[in-house]
Amino acid sequence: MKNIGVLSLQGGFEKHLGMVARCGARGVEIRYSRELHEVDGLILPGGESTTIGKLLDRNGFIPEIQKLLSKNFPVFGTCAGTILLADTIEGSTQVKIGGLPITIERNAYGSQVDSFESLLEIELSNPITFPGVFIRAPRITFLGKGVETLSVLDDDPVFIRYNSIIAATFHPELTTNLAIHDYFIRNIV
């Protein structure tokens, strides 16, 4: 059975752990960097990217995750997790992990009252329709070399792949559709 770590310092980690279990893998709460070496893949959940970034920094996670990424370790970022993986965050100097050659704009669709749901067409192994839940969502404004777009909304990429990283600006863990988690666990990990 594959062990999938879910960073559990702050944010939507609990729903991700539930999705991982429903996919038939073992979800592992990650609260210390040493625990990264006990898992086969890592999910960076949504939440507040500034808060998670600070907690990653205070607990010595950043160099450890960067080291793993350089060895093509499987990582799946959602919302804040995607922000933390981005090489450039527009107008911000907040703590981040980097490694994903994109530029991202935080809270790009407005504040919470502008949060929305929209159906998405996603290119996984087969094309699927997926219920996208966008909450204070970021927008990917630039894609670097080698980044593959798996889904768009109004011409903006909302789900991407780069080597062993997949990243979404929406929240698949808030739905009952296991397709994306299943894809990560079966095809990337």
């Binding site: 944010g11 609990e14 507040e48 919470q112 929305f116 929209s118 011409d155």
Partner: protein, 301 residues
């Protein structure tokens, strides 16, 4: 270009409201009264701030009518930080809630800390695009608020006292109520709904899932990293700290310590480390010595 039609897109749904509450698990929401405090809170790692003119300890001390804060001040805080900004309206004051929604606050707290505007009815929260958080002392009260549209529940505790005893009582009561409901047979649930004053369908969901249909946070009297850890271990999924931070000797240090304590609430060694040298905590009021008329948790029903 995506094939998604405009009609396939829905703004401010129940899922996006509860979804934001989900993203606020495992963190700390801090009361702030100005831009400077909001920045200190954000730098310490707060996941959201509650913008208000006076923290509950001062509302208590000043007396008089406590109302929604000045939009100017809420807006200034919204501009100063990137984390979600919450604000309070009085119980039942849907016009204040409409103003907060128009301001674009990320969560509205229909709060017993302010003077209630309606002693009979709470706001019908489903009508709003902004999500709401409401206080509760037991399962029945929590489910009534969720029935009205609250996307997050917090214990009421006894705000502005720095005494954690009421928050503990309310969290233990909610968790205990849920355990009891789970042990009941289906034929007992309608009577239980009547006794709790809870909507039946929501009670049925709790009996099946063993949890509230929305995230369950704690508030009202949390003043130290140990208090935060206590409530998290009792079942809170995140904590609000009101007067406890900015009424203490070293707010920046205490704020950071409480954030670390919530992220590692089960790790006593970490709690030793973060609890060291925090300076003076807020002085506080012992709830058991308070005159019953001074207590605010009884506001709302």
């Amino acid at each position: 270009m995506s094939n998604t039609q405009w009609s396939d897109r829905q703004v401010s749904t129940w899922k996006t409201k509860v979804g934001l509450a989900e993203q606020l698990k495992g963190g700390v929401i801090m009361d702030v009264v100005n831009v400077e405090q909001a920045k200190i809170a954000e730098d310490a790692g707060a996941q959201a701030v509650m913008a208000l003119e006076r923290v509950p300890a001062d509302i208590r001390a000043d007396g008089g009518v406590a109302r929604m804060s000045d939009p100017e001040m809420i807006e200034a805080i919204k501009k100063a930080v990137t984390i979600p900004v919450m604000a309070k309206c009085r119980i039942g004051h849907f016009a204040e809630a409409q103003i907060l929604e128009a301001l674009g606050v990320d969560f509205i707290d229909e709060s017993e800390v302010l003077t209630p505007a309606d002693d009979e009815f709470h706001v019908w929260k489903h009508d709003f695009r902004s999500p709401f958080v409401c206080g509760a002392r037991n399962l029945g009260e929590a489910l009534r608020r969720i029935g009205e549209g609250a996307a997050m529940i917090r214990t009421k505790g006894e705000a502005g006292t720095g005494d954690v005893v009421e928050a503990v009582r309310h969290m233990r009561t909610i968790v205990g109520d849920i355990r009891r409901v789970q042990s009941l047979g289906r034929e007992q649930l309608m009577t239980e709904a009547k006794n709790l004053g809870a909507p039946f369908e929501l009670l049925l969901e709790v009996a099946t899932t063993g949890r509230l249909p929305v995230p369950n946070f704690s508030a009202g009297g949390i003043a130290t990293p140990a208090d935060a850890s206590l409530l998290m271990q009792l079942g809170a999924e995140a904590v609000f700290v009101g007067s406890g931070i900015f009424k203490s000797g070293d707010p920046a240090k205490r704020a950071r310590a409480i954030v670390d304590a919530v992220a590692h609430y089960k790790d006593a060694k970490k709690l030793v480390e973060v609890s060291r040298n925090l300076g003076e905590p807020m002085v506080g009021i012992n709830v058991s010595s308070m005159d019953p008329t001074q207590k605010i948790a009884g506001r709302g029903w």
